[in-house]
């Protein structure tokens, strides 16, 4: 059976509607959302209400968390102080606009969702703020999946969709203990694991303006990365009309690949 995984909706209603239409048109009954329903975009209430109305199971993203708990990310989550100021402006704008009911909904979202050996998170099993990029150290990436007890890890946060398979791994170790004579040697065979990044519906950063999401087949394990056209101009106009930083509209209309990504992508915010 096919199911869809969406992430990083970012209050972009036109993109969310287009993606849900695309999912419906394929007869897919199950959709899972990996968080960041709000932030950057101009329609936070509309997007949260659509997700609630469609009863889409969702994890809590870093933006969802910050809107509830207050700004939790340190400045090094942004590539520059200018970007941080823009992010904070969007945060306050979103926090002011969101209804109490929608805030309560975001507050109760779980950090992770699990279905058998499939684990759904926003950033990584460790943190909503950790980026699992496709070129991350392969052993560290495998550790994230394996330690969480999953076979396939679905994540978002990077806004770049990809499917990564980690296989045929092994680690040889030599152990010397205080009271033992000769060191002992052993080899650990590592299991095959997958990381599936769903990209971003509302703020794509994969080099195109199209919204992205993934379809996973439970039976075959096949993953399809979908790109969906939507009315980008409509969202850009709404961003400008709302008084949000115009650069948000500018980068949406260009689909820039590295917009607003942290310089140190492996950084995990501890503030």
């Amino acid at each position: 059976m096919n199911h869809a995984v969406i992430s990083c909706l970012h209050a972009n209603l036109a993109a969310v509607e287009a993606v849900l239409d695309d999912i419906d048109s394929q007869g897919i009954q199950t959709t899972t959302c990996l968080g960041d329903l709000v932030g950057y975009g101009p329609q936070p209430n509309e997007v949260v209400e659509l997700v609630r109305q469609r009863e889409i199971p969702s994890c809590q993203g870093c933006w969802d968390e910050d809107i509830i708990d207050g700004l939790n990310a340190c400045e090094c989550s942004y590539p520059s102080q200018l970007a941080e100021r823009r992010g904070h402006r969007a945060h306050h704008w979103t926090a002011d606009l969101l209804t109490e009911e929608n805030k309560a909904f975001l507050a109760e979202l779980p950090m992770t969702l699990r279905r058998d050996k499939l684990l759904f998170v926003h950033g990584s099993p460790n943190s909503q703020h950790e980026y699992l990029l496709p070129d991350m150290n392969a052993f560290a990436a495998l550790e994230r999946v394996e330690t969480a007890g999953a076979e396939t890890l679905f994540c978002g946060h990077t806004h770049q969709p990809y499917v990564r398979e980690l296989r045929q791994g092994s680690i040889r170790v030599k152990v010397q203990q205080r009271d033992q004579g000769a060191p002992t040697e052993q080899e650990l065979e590592l299991p095959m694991r997958r990381i599936v990044n769903a990209g971003s519906v509302g703020e794509p950063r994969h080099g195109s303006t199209k919204a992205t999401y993934v379809i996973h087949n439970d039976d075959t394990g096949e993953v399809t990365i979908r790109e969906v056209d939507y009315n980008v101009a409509k969202t850009c106009r709404a961003i400008v009309d709302a008084g949000l930083p115009e650069v948000f509209a500018w980068r949406l209309s260009h689909g820039f690949e590295y917009a607003e990504r942290a310089e140190d992508a492996s950084h995990v915010c501890e503030r």
């Binding site: 550790e143 398979e165 092994s170 080099g207």
Partner: protein, 236 residues
């Protein structure tokens, strides 16, 4: 190059610290003393040791200290860690242990304890109480090699010295590899990554301490005041 002495888990035991200082003076070439946390504990008054660490005697090898699990518990309980309290200690040893810990350390040491760092990076080595993931992370020779490699990778160091488990061991990652296949909008890429030659070293705790020579990568596990001192085992 000069050797390092790596000590942890003194838990307020000044006599033990003096014994280790005495033995280090008898060792050739030991120039650095790193105290990897758990300076304090709940079992005895810790003030005399803390005063000695903060104001060493002239003949002492000057200690460089970091905080450990016990300091983390005390600082959390005393409001130095935001809303967190000493929940790990409560869960592990009960409410009484929290009270004993508070009684074991005078309040005028708290700011100094709070100023201690999480760890040191010296040359290509990380000196940490637990691991790069958490001060309470208990790495042992039985911990999954995948987890150990992750903890090394997070700090991008070749050697991670850990104290939390209080055991003495050296575990070398000596080989292996993994294949990575990535499919994205740009196409497909295949790559292979080899296991880097890196080590995790358990330095022991309390009477068990470790000497390390960064020039030769030689490790010597020792016991303070013990008969095995004369035959402290070295691993090159």
């Amino acid at each position: 190059m000069e050797r390092w002495a790596l000590v942890s888990g003194l838990q307020g035991d000044l006599d033990l610290y003096e014994q280790i200082q005495k033995e280090l003076k008898q060792q050739r070439g030991v120039a650095n003393l790193f105290v990897l946390g758990d300076l304090i504990g709940s079992q005895r008054k810790c003030n005399a040791l803390l005063e000695r660490l903060r104001q060493p005697k002239r003949a002492d090898l000057q200690p460089d200290c970091i905080y450990g699990w016990w300091e983390e518990q005390l600082l959390a309980e005393c409001g130095y860690r935001g809303e967190r309290k000493a929940e790990a200690l409560r869960a592990e040893q009960g409410e009484a242990a929290v009270g004993e810990l508070l009684a074991a350390v005078d309040a005028d040491h708290l700011n100094w304890l709070a100023s201690l760092q999480f760890g040191f990076i010296e040359l290509d080595c990380a000196l940490i109480h637990g691991s790069s993931a958490d001060v309470g992370d208990r790495l042992t020779e039985d911990t999954s090699a995948l987890v150990l490699l992750d903890r090394l990778t997070r700090l991008d160091v070749n050697r991670l010295f850990t104290a939390r488990c209080r055991r003495q061991f050296r575990l070398e990652l000596s080989g292996g590899s993994i294949q990575s296949h990535v499919k994205d909008h740009a196409g497909e890429q295949q790559s292979e990554q080899a296991v880097p030659k890196r080590s995790v070293i358990g330095i022991g705790g309390g009477r068990h301490y470790t000497l390390y020579d960064p020039a030769t990568d030689h490790i010597e596990f020792r016991i303070a005041g013990g008969p095995s001192n004369a035959s402290g085992r070295g691993f090159g």
